[in-house]
Each structure stands twice: as structure tokens, then as C-alpha cells.
Symmetry: C2
Subunit: 340 residues, 2 copies
DNA sequence: GTCGATTATGCAATCGATTGCAAGAGCTAT
DNA sequence: ATAGCTCTTGCAATCGATTGCATAATCGAC
């Protein structure tokens, strides 16, 4: 491949445009802001000149002066699982939809992954002044950290569950109800020994487990601790829980997984171990990620309406940026019966 | 839900810390930068004070002064398909991996989706001074726009194909070779009437079509224009091409799709039309997105090593930021035979 | 021709950091 | 005691915009 020499253009500043137009930077600034203080013909002349020169306002300087960044920070805390990549399909789908909504409102998206949250991580993100608001995807195990800033920092909205003693504004589905739907469905299929897969460090998972226990209790079935196995959220350790369960010798005829990724991993592991889905073991997941509908067999799961969720999060965030008070939103989960 | 009053903390600035420590901002700035000019005990005292007060340097001010942002801009141009959401799995997986790599190097990620590229869109992104470098995912139909800036703006790396007259640094797979692999595989299966699905506005697609034509030519099979149908990249219009093909009455016994998403859509549409995969029609996709391996039947496809691709892109970008010249990287594609 | 109202434009402060240069403090050596 | 060091520390300029206030220019009315 040919090697090319790159000759960087000198960056234009407002003063350059001002000089070319024979006016001051004040006038250029106002003209570009379409300020009626500047007579229309001059305004148009300056705008045309700036465009012709390819001049663009330096956002860093503008932001400093205006104390705004026109940027929303989308944050993914990965507390409970240090190795988890941003590559998890659920997070990615959420990021995509949030980015769409934020872009639609003319804001930029700053994407931050917090690998191993150290005390004060959220404060540092907020205080660094890089964004006008923060969206956190998932509570992970950082409930306390979120509470800590919620009382002094308004423009914050979190995707997650309705955990007790929560000071921050949240959007999410009712995890407990969703889990009940899932387990009731399995019970209706005649399943009685239902295993639960999920790492209970995250509040969402805890709530799903709570719904699982409630549904069992309502059906008069005693919960069996051996049927709960921890499982991580990501690609490989997701198999941990199901392997543990398989090797423990406990018998079970159904699995309720705290996420679709865990469910798909479990199906794969069980298939390798000679257990058929759904003939031997019924499976219900949680999230309804895109993969769920394309997988084989198509995964029965609890649907979270990500599209609406993203819309609500962004809407609430902008309301809070404007100083309004907002009410958390919890959407009704929906059972999607496919073939597992 | 209880309504909470949020009392915003006054934002601390360096001057506040300076006053509390009884020194000037110069000293605080140097102390926080661990500058040996400041005697160690004082340095430690100031750092401790700043931490105790939860002080964080204002990145906007710092960036303005230093002319750096510590941020990489990941850009997704959606030229050839205005409705395409950022939600496309291929883009999302790429974004996730790039974000991982960028975060690893201590940089922030600014995610920009360009809905309908207007002339100068890339210049505006660059000149706005929001990032130290730009990664573009996919050439879309913006080859000219990329070329236009490449000669004057060094820190730019593009994911895409090796199109002629390319001035910008690129990472990608050899699309032509990949397409040949796919078509040769179909030929080996005994298929002769192979359709191509993909919207040829994007250079990548054009290259894949070229490989398709080359493979057919090498096998002595005349290319039939009726077997090429346009298809978009996203959720619904992806079906356009296959529907067009099905309703045109042309017979075909195989499909080579320019992306996995198109392939999966095609399989679904054909199933609805009573065509079985792979019995009646063999299908090969391109990308090997995560869904491809979970789908049913598992999709035979051309694998792009996204993990390595993301690593290479970020590595090259940082080299270019340091002023080095770099060579484009094209990775060998790999045929992944599954069941279609 | 002068005054007041109106319009057009620019000066200079400001946002919150970083850093070259200089000055003051403290010390040593003669 | 003083010249000559080194070591500390701070002043003030700078990055590139925005905007309150002031001034200059223009105009119409009498």
C-alpha cells in the first residue's frame, strides 16, 4: 500500500473567521448563533463564509464557557462480574437504543464502561464535567454507590429493578412479576423441580429469584436450595451454574434463568449432557434479546420492552436536566412463549 | 414513589482546593499531576485533600488548555440506508469491542451515529474538537467523504474493504476472497443457481458481489442479473430483496447474502414461502455475528474476526495519533460451515 | 441643526484548568 | 557578611469560545 504524507490543516478559530469578515469575534459568535442583534445580510454573509471555510465551533471551548457539553454519558457498571465485556447482547442492544434516542435529541453519546468499580467511581464520572446527564445501565452491585450521589445530582436515571431504599430514578420492568410469570408458566407445564440460575449479587437477579420463590410458595411447592446455582452474565462463566447443577446430581425438570444468555448457555450445556429441551427440561429466560427468537429451539422468555425502556430513560433524563422531578417507571413484563 | 428534593452540591474547582490548602492553583495543579517540583509531603497533603473533598479536574477546561480530549470518536455512518438503527447486531458487536479496547487504553468513547450524511459531516465531527481520533465503522456509501479528509487528518481509521483509490487507513477482511469462499462452498454442494442479496451502494457489498461474480466465472457459470436482488441491512427492508426474488419467479437453489442479518431474514422469508433450508436452498451469510451460531438452522457464514479487527483498528489509530504512518490491515476471511 | 431613540458593533470579563518565567526563601561556601 | 546556589511557590498568559455592557453610528423628528 502506498504511504501517504498527511499534511494537517491549521485549525480555524473564530478569530480567523472574524478577521476574514472584517468584524470581531463577538459578531461572528452572534451571527453563527443566528442572533437577531446582527442584521440579516451580515449574518448570512458570516454564516456563508464560515461554511465555505469549513469552520466549526470548538465544542470544548464552547462547553467550558456555557457549562454544558451537549453530551449524555451512558455508563455500564460491571461490578458483579469483572470479566464481563461490553459485548453482552443485552447491554449492547440497550446501548444502541439509548444512542438512537439521545442522537434524536441532538445530543452526543459518551459511552463509559466501569470495569471494577472503585469507591467514588460515579462521583468521578459526574464531577469530570464531561456530560450533562448520566444514564446507568443496570444496577450491578452498585446500589449504594447510586444512592450516594442521587441526593445531590439530579440528572441521573438508572435502568434496573425496584429495590428497597432506592433514592435514584429508575426505569425497568417489574422483575418479581416477570419471574412469577416465568415460573407459573413452568408450573402450568407440569414442571415441579424448577432450578434457578443467576448470580444474586445484582439486585435485578435477586428480585427475579424473589419472584421465583413467591411463585413456588403460591403453588405450595417448597423451595429447594440445591436448585439454585449461581451463574454469571457473560459468555463463559454463564455455564458455571448449569455445570454445577448437572454435576451435583440434583434432578430437575425445568430451568428459570435470570437472563437469556444464561438460558442459552444452559440449553447448550444440557444438550451436551444428553438432556433434551424442552422434552426433558423446560427453559425460560429473561430479557428477550434478539438472539432469543433466532435460537433453536426458539427461547421462551420474559420480554423487556427495551425500545420503550430506552425512550422512557431518555425522556426522564431530559426532564430531570430541566430541573423537573420525575417518577420512576416500571413496565409490565410479558411472557413470550416459544418452544422451550 | 416518594418525591425527593435534590440539593445539588456546589461544584468544586481547583481554586477551592487551593484556598483550603493555602496554596495557589499552580501548586494544586502540579501536585495533582504528581509533578516533582512540588515537595513530596505537600504533594501528598494536597492529593489527600482533593480526594477527601471529592474534587475531580474539570475535563472540559483541561482539554481546552491541553488541546486534547482523551476521547476517541466511534462513528457509524448510515448513508446507504437511512432507517437503519444503530441496533444492527454487527455494528453493535463492533462498537462493544472497540469500546473495550479504547477503555483499556484509558480513553473515553464518544459514540456518533450519522443518520443522513450531509456534505462535510466528517469534517464537522473532526473540527468540533471533541476527540483525539476517529474510528469509522463501515464505509457505507461515504468513500469520497472519507477520502476528502484523509489527506489532512491523520488520526482516522476505517473499518471496511479495500476499494480502489483509497486514501484512508483501513482494517477489514478481504471481502472478495470471502465471497469467493462462500460461493465456492455452494458450488461444491452442487448448487448452480446462486442468488446474491445485498444493496450494492456500500463498497463492502460491491466487493462481495465482485467475489461472487469471480467465483462463478471461475466455475464457468454465467452470471445471471436476475439472480441479484437488492437488500438493505436492517430489520425489515432486509426482506425486500428476498421477497422480490421469490415473487419474480426466478428459480434458485442457493443464496449468498452480503450479511448474516440479510441471510437470516431470507431464511425466514423462504420458510414462510415453503422453501426449506438447506434442503431446497442453501444459504451462506457474511459476518458471523453471535446470532448466526445460535440460529436454527445454524448459519453457514464467512467469519470476520471482530475481536482482532477491533484490536487492530485501535492499535493503528493510536499509532497515527502519535504521528506514525501505518499500513492498512486486511485479514483473511474464514468459511464457517454450519448447517445451511 | 440638535436631540433622543434606535441599531450596530466591539471591548473585556469569564469559564477552569496548565505552565513558562520570575521572584522570594533558604542554604552553603568563601 | 555576601555572592551564588538551589528549592518553592505564585503571577499571569493561554486555550477558544460567549455575552453584559458600553460606545459609536444612523436615523427621524422637530
Amino acid at each position: 500500500m502506498k504511504s501517504r504524507t498527511v499534511t494537517p490543516k491549521p485549525r480555524l478559530k473564530m478569530a480567523d473567521i472574524a478577521k476574514m469578515a472584517g468584524v470581531s469575534t463577538s459578531t461572528v459568535s452572534r451571527a453563527l448563533a443566528d442572533n437577531p442583534l446582527i442584521p440579516l445580510p451580515l449574518r448570512e454573509r458570516i454564516v456563508a463564509l464560515a461554511r465555505a471555510q469549513g469552520y466549526v465551533v470548538n465544542q470544548q471551548a464552547r462547553g467550558l464557557r456555557l457549562q454544558r457539553t451537549n453530551t449524555i454519558n451512558v455508563v455500564i457498571p460491571l461490578g458483579h462480574d469483572k470479566d464481563q465485556l461490553i459485548s453482552d447482547p443485552f447491554f449492547l442492544e440497550m446501548v444502541g437504543r439509548l444512542a438512537d434516542q439521545i442522537t434524536l435529541r441532538g445530543y452526543e453519546v459518551l459511552l463509559t464502561k466501569v470495569m471494577s468499580p472503585t469507591p467514588g467511581w460515579l462521583e468521578r464520572i459526574i464531577q469530570s464535567n464531561r456530560s450533562d446527564g448520566v444514564l446507568v445501565i443496570g444496577q450491578s452491585d452498585q446500589h449504594q454507590a447510586l444512592n450516594a450521589v442521587a441526593d445531590s445530582y439530579a440528572p441521573l436515571v438508572v435502568w434496573g429493578g425496584d429495590v428497597p431504599d432506592r433514592h435514584y430514578c429508575t426505569v425497568g420492568v417489574d422483575s418479581v412479576a416477570g419471574a412469577r410469570l416465568a415460573v407459573e408458566h413452568l408450573l402450568k407445564l407440569g414442571r415441579r423441580r424448577i432450578a434457578f440460575l443467576g448470580l444474586p449479587e445484582a439486585p435485578e437477579v435477586l428480585l427475579r429469584r424473589q419472584g421465583y420463590l413467591e411463585a413456588l410458595a403460591a403453588a405450595g411447592i417448597p423451595a429447594e436450595p440445591a436448585l439454585t446455582a449461581p451463574a454469571h452474565f457473560n459468555a463463559e462463566p454463564e455455564l458455571e451454574g448449569i455445570h454445577h447443577l448437572l454435576s451435583s446430581g440434583v434432578t430437575f425438570d425445568a430451568v428459570f434463568a435470570a437472563s437469556d444468555v444464561i438460558a442459552l448457555g444452559a440449553i447448550r450445556a444440557m444438550t451436551e449432557a444428553g438432556l433434551r429441551t424442552p422434552e426433558d427440561v423446560s427453559v425460560v429466560g429473561f430479557d428477550d434479546v434478539t438472539v432469543a427468537q433466532y435460537s433453536w429451539p426458539p427461547l421462551t422468555t420474559i420480554r423487556q420492552d427495551l425500545d420503550r425502556g430506552a425512550r422512557e430513560m431518555v425522556e426522564l433524563l431530559f426532564q430531570r436536566i430541566e430541573g423537573k422531578t420525575t417518577t420512576s417507571v416500571f413496565m409490565a413484563p410479558e411472557l413470550v412463549v416459544r418452544q422451550t
